[in-house]
């Protein structure tokens, strides 16, 4: 018996909405600022771009108290196990926002020292491009994540279907016309669409869409 067993009727539908609303508007980020993106993340939390209006200005130092891990910066080989350890210590439900190109794909550092994309280590929900992403971009990424949480199934985390042209990646459209075969069905890939909020990223390995039941179970 758990949330997964609920039938989607009126009563539990309202409960789901409440749960999703609560998760969205008090999503506390964990401090995982690594490099330059961390400075922009701090700027987002500061006065001009105020993240507190979304209930997120409390950056929890302890991963046990955090919901969202914003991986802000380049992840080196030495830092990778630490990243995974912090992610494992976070309690469900948890989300990961990969901020900046270094965290998303390795960025301009395609070399021995940097993990080429943090999605090699943790499952990522939203990617925010930029070097560093301006605070507006980061806020857009956070709001996309909020939409995803608010409109998605509360028991579901991760991409529903990796072969469909579901969207969630921000950034330019011209990066999408590569020949990887996943966007063949011609659906528009600009921006996010609220009814298909899954984040799909080229190259993400296929995953079992059922959520991991216990902390630390490899996805």
């Amino acid at each position: 018996m758990g949330l997964e067993d609920l039938q989607h009727n009126f009563l539990t539908g309202r409960l789901e909405d409440l749960v999703k609303w609560a998760r969205t508007y008090s999503m506390w980020p964990a401090t995982f600022g690594l490099a330059c993106c961390a400075i922009e993340m701090m700027s987002v939390g500061a006065a001009d771009f105020d993240l507190a209006r979304f209930g997120m200005e409390v950056f929890r130092a302890s991963p046990r108290q955090a919901d969202l891990m914003i991986v802000a910066g380049r992840v080196s080989q030495k830092m990778a196990p630490v990243l995974r350890q912090v992610y494992d210590q976070m309690m469900e439900p948890k989300w990961v926002l990969s901020m900046g190109v270094c965290a998303s794909t390795g960025g301009m550092f395609n070399n021995y020292a940097i993990v080429q994309g943090v999605d090699q280590i943790v499952p990522v929900d939203v990617y925010a491009p930029g070097c560093p992403p301006t605070p507006e971009t980061l806020m857009h990424a956070i709001l996309t994540l909020h939409e995803k949480v608010r409109t998605d199934d509360i028991t579901h985390r991760g991409p529903r279907d990796t072969s469909a042209a579901a969207v969630g990646t921000l950034g330019s459209d011209e990066g999408r016309d590569t020949d990887d075969g996943q966007t063949e069905d011609g659906e528009s890939t600009s921006g996010w669409t609220p009814d298909r909020p899954d984040a799909v990223h080229l190259g993400t390995p296929k995953r079992n869409p059922v959520i991991a039941r216990s902390v630390g179970e490899p996805l």
Binding site: K78, G106, N111, D179
Partner: protein, 176 residues
């Protein structure tokens, strides 16, 4: 110990080479830097001599791997080797710098540590060891500092690849 005369340092007593800096015209207060080429045996003695003659701080210590260099200018009597350890000393009282370049052979990449002369070289020597494999004898903690402890290989050597992961781009491969 008297100030080390740069002229006596190199094996054949050649005068020190002045660096090719100073090309930028707006360096009015910047004097030329002397470059000195001691052998491995003379190295610590020379550095100590400079310290005693007013070079209070060691600004920088790094390694260079000349494996794939087309040809570098060295003064007479200095036998080129694969590695070089480059030490940059700074004299605050005289507002002067001096650069010391020691040739270190690739097959026997050991050189004396400057830790007892300048304790500030501790981290810099560890970095040179980590990235080049040059071992500094007498260093109190000769371990890797930047790479993970169990990393194999010394990344900044010229025979160590960049480790580039091929990226799936449409179109021709570029220089990167």
């Amino acid at each position: 110990m008297t100030a080390a005369d740069p002229g006596t340092v190199t094996a054949a007593a050649a005068p020190p080479v002045s660096d090719s800096g100073g090309g930028s015209s707006r360096l009015p207060g910047r004097p030329q830097q002397d470059v000195v080429f001691p052998t491995r045996d003379q190295y610590v003695g020379v550095v100590r001599g400079y310290r005693d003659s007013g070079f209070e701080m060691c600004a920088d210590l790094c390694g260079v791997d000349y494996l794939s260099h087309p040809g570098r200018r060295l003064p007479e009597g200095v036998a080129p080797e694969r590695f070089e350890v480059v030490v940059n000393l700074l004299s605050l009282s005289q507002a002067r710098r001096v650069r010391i370049r020691v040739q270190v052979p690739g097959s026997d990449a050991v050189v004396d540590s400057l830790f007892d002369v300048y304790p500030g070289t501790e981290a810099m020597e560890r970095e040179a060891y980590d990235l080049f494999g040059i071992v500094f004898a007498g260093h109190p903690d000769m371990t890797r500092i930047l790479m993970p402890e169990d990393w194999e290989g010394h990344p900044l050597r010229k025979d160590y690849g960049v480790g580039r992961v091929p990226v799936q781009f449409k179109g021709a491969p570029g220089p990167r």
